[in-house]
Symmetry: C2
Subunit: 381 residues, 2 copies
């Protein structure tokens, strides 16, 4: 097991009706900025619940944080926050709204431009405290310090680390209005978050392996049932809990991590606007295929423990395991091939160029460079 | 899934050499009280490592916190802490040293007697911050707010909740000097901590079930190997991580909990000085037997997923599962029967009386009263 440091101070308020607890968590004297996405929370009743819970508070609203939040949009929120002298921010929405809010919170006390903080997070000093009411289980952003921000001008998409939400409200009932596509992307995102921390080499931590597999088993168990019953409280509770636990550090203690699939997926989103979860569903089988020798032992363990694949040569078992993984994503209703989205050589060449320019060395062995990224993407055609 | 609130702010510093990081975590200006057990840390080198890491600090030492820490001993440490005006406490030892330290830290700023805080934890305001260098993986005390304190005068042993350690240092190498009996008790303690949060009714949280089972599977996998190689770093890392993760709230989200076995075990310790882990190994099979109808579905799930028991009638499978659980504790080298320790009817009658006087209603259904406790103990003879 590798040495590690772990700390996660975020408070979770989980369960039906928990939005009503907001006033117990935010000081009455706060000047609160509420940040939102495009407006779905107006339709599903979450906005009304939040406003009711915060009756009597001094509130400012910022609307319009888009999927794959763009620094161009966030700059407007930062300007508003500075002008209004807000001292607490509550993100109400999905992972994109929350990711954007992390940059807003960090940038309000910062004199320079917000994009500088994405490029150099060491410039972040303790900014404005923030929290979330999470409406789309997927990114895990509600219980970690990370965020991914896009830059429209430069067509870039980078992740950075800021600081943790003070608390997050997770009410599974707010997921009832999600579209099947959103749920599918959320499940795929959660699944791949686990795989990035799991599919390296086995035995680094027996316990962490079991916990990662526990999330994967739960996802594969509930996905077809959610498809049938997207308003089943217990199913959606498990989905929501899986999403949070997949990326809060709990399964990453003492183990190496990959994240090459994410780095390639981010480029697909930056170039073509692919939904994050779908980009991962496309790339992961390619990563597994190209790196199957390096990840052999762990793929075999994953195949046996998650998919019950334990017969035949290791080569056959690996092939079957990768096929089952892709089939799982397809069963969610997601595309798993670039060609289905008319993405081809031009994009591969652009990503190869970008990885080359950045001297990219991703993955647990730091060997996913521009050449390997091309090979992975060619597998995804 | 039940509604829940979760927060665990404790920082973990895990791995070989991590004691050297102490000076990064404690302000140089602090007046630090070091608390110790009986002196094993002088022999295994941990004391020297701590003193070296804290060179230049203003230190006060308190020695002699015993297993099942007694308020009579702790009062002396509290007196010392008040007199020396300490503002940080570092517990160096096992769960008992740390549990005792939780009361010391809470009681230093308190004007009344420390036992009042055990009986009424609401009297605890934020006390002195504290941390730990954990030397005996077992109680999970290094990452939770709970503690169990005994009272010699009244022959009582009660748990209470204070506040979390600021950080805990977990270096698996410090476990190399533990006796096989200590390790056996630590594994049993960890195992039963999981069972108390798991063996209720199934399906409350699919994910939490998987995580609880993940710890149980890891423990059953490593226990015989540790018996062979108690100085294997990776084995001891997994053992140490299991102990911490078993009782830090991570596997208790949204599920009901039992804790009847602990409440009965505490009485055995209070009356006969049994080591905590061994008391649990004796009581758990009795609890499972007496409550087998109520816990039927979860015992079947546990038997199948942990012990591979999936053939025969449910009655047979339950009996086999309970037998396997007891056999596991015996394989650790622990006693699992009261009669082996010459404990009999007199003790059962005393515990029955105590539960009656306290109007005890333990367990997830609050039905473990004096009568059920007697039945459980009679099963343990």
């Amino acid at each position: 097991m590798q040495n590690f440091t772990f700390q996660n101070p975020t408070k979770l308020l989980f369960g039906k009706g928990s939005i009503a607890l907001l006033s117990k968590e935010i000081a009455k004297t706060s000047k609160v900025m509420l940040t939102f996405g495009s407006g779905s929370v107006r339709i599903n009743g979450v906005y009304d619940q939040v406003i009711a819970a915060l009756a009597g508070y001094n509130l400012v609203e910022f609307w319009g944080i888009e999927p794959n939040p763009k620094v161009e949009t966030l700059r407007k929120a930062i300007e508003l926050g500075k002008a209004e002298k807000v001292d607490f921010i509550l993100a109400v929405g999905g992972g994109s709204t929350l990711d954007g809010t992390k940059l807003i919170a960090a940038a309000i006390p910062y004199a320079g431009d917000a994009w500088e903080l994405v490029l150099n997070p060491k410039l972040i000093t303790k900014g404005i405290p923030f929290a979330s009411v999470m409406t789309l289980p997927a990114t895990g952003s509600e219980m970690n310090s990370g965020a991914v921000i896009s830059n429209l001008a430069t067509q870039e998409k980078f992740s950075f680390r800021a600081y943790f939400p003070q608390f997050s409200v997770l009410d599974p009932e707010v997921t009832y209005s999600l579209s099947p596509y959103h749920i599918a992307c959320g499940i795929a995102d959660t699944f791949v978050h686990v795989m990035e921390q799991y599919l390296t080499s086995p035995g680094q931590s027996l316990l962490m392996d079991r916990w990662a597999e526990g999330i994967l088993m739960t996802l594969t168990e509930i996905a077809p049932e959610i498809d049938e019953n997207p308003r089943d409280y217990d199913l959606m509770s498990n989905y929501m809990l899986c999403a949070t636990m997949a990326l809060n550090g709990f399964i990453g203690m003492g183990v190496s991590q990959d994240w090459a699939t994410h780095m390639i997926g981010h480029e697909l989103t930056a170039l073509h606007g692919l939904t994050h979860g779908e980009s991962l569903a496309i790339v992961l089988p390619g990563t597994m295929t190209v790196l199957s020798e390096q990840k052999k032992d762990k793929i075999l363990q994953y195949g046996e423990r998650i998919w019950g694949i334990n017969k035949g040569s290791s080569g056959l078992r690996i092939a079957e395991t990768i096929a089952r993984t892709e089939a799982f994503f397809r069963s969610l209703g997601l595309h798993t091939r670039l060609s289905e989205l008319n993405i081809g050589e031009e994009t591969i060449a652009e990503i190869e160029l970008r990885f080359d320019e950045r001297d990219a060395k991703f993955g647990e062995c730091q060997n996913v460079n521009s050449v390997v990224a091309r090979a992975i993407l060619e597998c995804c055609l």
